[in-house]
Amino acid sequence: MAQKTDIRTLPGFRLATIGFFIYLYIPLLILVVFSFNATHSATVWDGFSLNWYAKAFDNSDIRRAAWNSLVVATFATIFATSFATMAALALARNHQIKHKPVFNGVLMLPLMVPEIVTAVATLTFFSVIGLSLGLGNIIIAHTVFCIPFAYLPIRARLHGMDKNMEIAAQDLYASKWATLRYVTLPLLTPGIISGAMLAFIISIDDFIITLMVAEAGSTTLPIYIYSLVRIGITPEVNAVSTILLCISIIFVTISYLVEKKR
């Protein structure tokens, strides 16, 4: 494999990637640095301190908001990704389904309406049918919104995938389910991972829909942070963001190690 890599490399692409990652991480570096700031400012450096971490851990509102965000994002991602995978498989592999463009269009629908409008309309609809499930309301709204984000990478992957493997499996008398389970899904994994990641970051960052749909007691982190900026972001918010970053980096490292062991 290593020798063959040569042939695929394109000059400058490596440099572009390095540059891209620097661009991606510069703001984060600043964010992390200022979480250790001694004074109240998130923009002017005044010396090192861990105060803001102590404060953030002590702040039950932030803790509750961060927990709510994680719960919502996790469930919305699981639901949206499974629904999107099923839909993508059915639409790409099942030739008896008619009106595919229509179904495709429906799956894109949540993307097409500006968020604030979806937010108001969804809240109106929820209150008309009397839906009141606490965080459940937000999870439902996020699932709907995340489906296209999960669906598109999965579909893109399916389009580019070689059907011969599946045909070969069926030729070897693998049942439909076995083919799906042992051939299609493993091949589809990069698409599913991409889709799930997009769904997750969309959900954990969503503000407007959550703000409107949230019921009493279900404030999420973005809502908390957005309302904080009115007075200016304090290093406390930086501290929370850094903690979330650490969690995500732990995830990344674990998955890297697991991957490597295989």
Binding site: D61, L123, S127, M212, E215, S227, R230, I231
Partner: protein, 352 residues
């Protein structure tokens, strides 16, 4: 492959466990003395106050926050549920009442009603305090860095026709009514103006100011002032205290043409589940020693007599809370449909 299916099973188990956990989390156990769900502006509820209320009454308080009156209005209008206390501004109280979103509390019948200062008893926006009691009140004008500009700051001229030191260093709110109201007072026009010709003057004033404006944004004012990004910024008096604490040369202006004044009010939305607890909270907030905790925290005045005694020395001395004698205090109003249409037309044209 066997390994993979085991992992799937595990995943399924964690999923089920997770769902159960959420359901439990959603139906969190109510405390013995009940709950109270407060929906207030961000960073506008003193944590000590909540702790005190909880320990005195045994009620467990949950606080959620919003960023604008409009958000609160849109949410309640679309049927959001679960809040027991909301905090609309005075110029929105009438709207909330007309739209049937609040329930009566008849504060005048409460024993502690006598604690309200005269100007907040039966205010123009809520006759006989049927629906609200005052929470905090304050003013909106602008903060100037006197290191950059050391002339007279108590006039709108330096905001709308800035001297060279301040040109390109102006920060304005990103909010149609707050920007337009200020321009109206500066031009000596009435608020909630319905006269298109006069609104054209407002637009002209704002358009001549625009080249000198660095940013239109209501968030992060403190940062922009202390970093020197802007040297003059539309601001509230409570936040101006924080700006001065961060940089001593910051002064809050009380323009002689008139200062915009507002009051936020405690109210109970219709359908509140914990009505009794909400009423308890309202009575609690009418005690001077309690509301003082809130004023000390947020840096705004309140409408309860005798609360000054409990102010910190810092707040007692704050220039931002005491306008010079004779400065007209202009309470903003609930605008008519026509006035709002003209406002949004001016705003869209300004920023198109």
């Amino acid at each position: 492959m066997g390994k993979a299916s085991k992992m799937d099973l595990q995943k399924r188990n964690t999923l089920i466990a997770g769902i159960t956990a959420t359901i439990i989390a959603c139906t969190s156990p109510a405390s013995a003395d009940g709950d109270l769900f407060i929906y207030n502006w961000t960073d506008y509820t003193a944590p000590d106050l909540i702790t005190k209320f909880e320990s005195e009454t045994g009620i467990s308080v949950t606080l959620d926050t919003y960023d604008t009156n409009e958000t609160l209005l849109a949410k309640l209008k679309s049927g959001a549920k679960g809040y027991d206390i909301v905090v609309p501004s005075h110029n929105f109280v009438e709207i909330f009442v007309t739209e049937g979103l609040l329930q009566k509390i008849n504060a005048a019948d409460m024993p502690s009603y006598k604690n309200l200062t005269a100007n907040f008893k039966s205010p123009p926006w809520d006759k006989d305090n049927q629906y609200t009691i005052p929470w905090q009140w304050g003013t909106t004008s602008f903060t100037v860095d006197t290191e950059v500009y050391d002339g007279d700051i108590n006039t709108y001229e330096i905001l709308f026709q800035p001297p060279s030191e301040l040109q390109g260093k102006i920060g304005m709110f990103k909010s149609a009514d707050e920007v337009i109201s200020m321009a109206q007072i500066s031009l000596g026009l009435s608020l909630c103006n319905e006269n298109p010709e006069e609104m054209r003057q407002v637009l002209d004033l704002l358009q001549t100011q625009k080249p000198f404006v660095k940013v239109y944004n209501s968030d992060g004012i403190l940062e922009r002032l202390t970093s020197g990004d802007t040297a003059i910024h539309q601001n509230w008096n409570g936040y101006s205290i924080r700006a001065r604490e961060a940089k001593a040369s910051m002064r809050y202006a009380f323009p002689k043409e008139g200062v915009i004044t507002w009051a936020d009010n405690l109210a109970i939305p219709k359908g509140a589940k914990n009505l009794d607890n909400a009423l308890k909270f309202i009575k609690f907030m009418m005690q001077p020693e309690n509301i003082a905790i809130q004023s000390n925290f947020a840096g705004y005045s309140n409408g309860i007599t005798g609360s000054q005694e409990f102010f910190t020395d810092k707040l007692k001395a704050a220039q931002e809370l005491s306008p010079p004698e004779g400065t007209p205090m202009v309470f903003t109003k609930t605008c008519s449909e026509k006035a709002i249409k003209l406002q949004s037309k001016v705003w869209t044209t300004l920023l198109q």
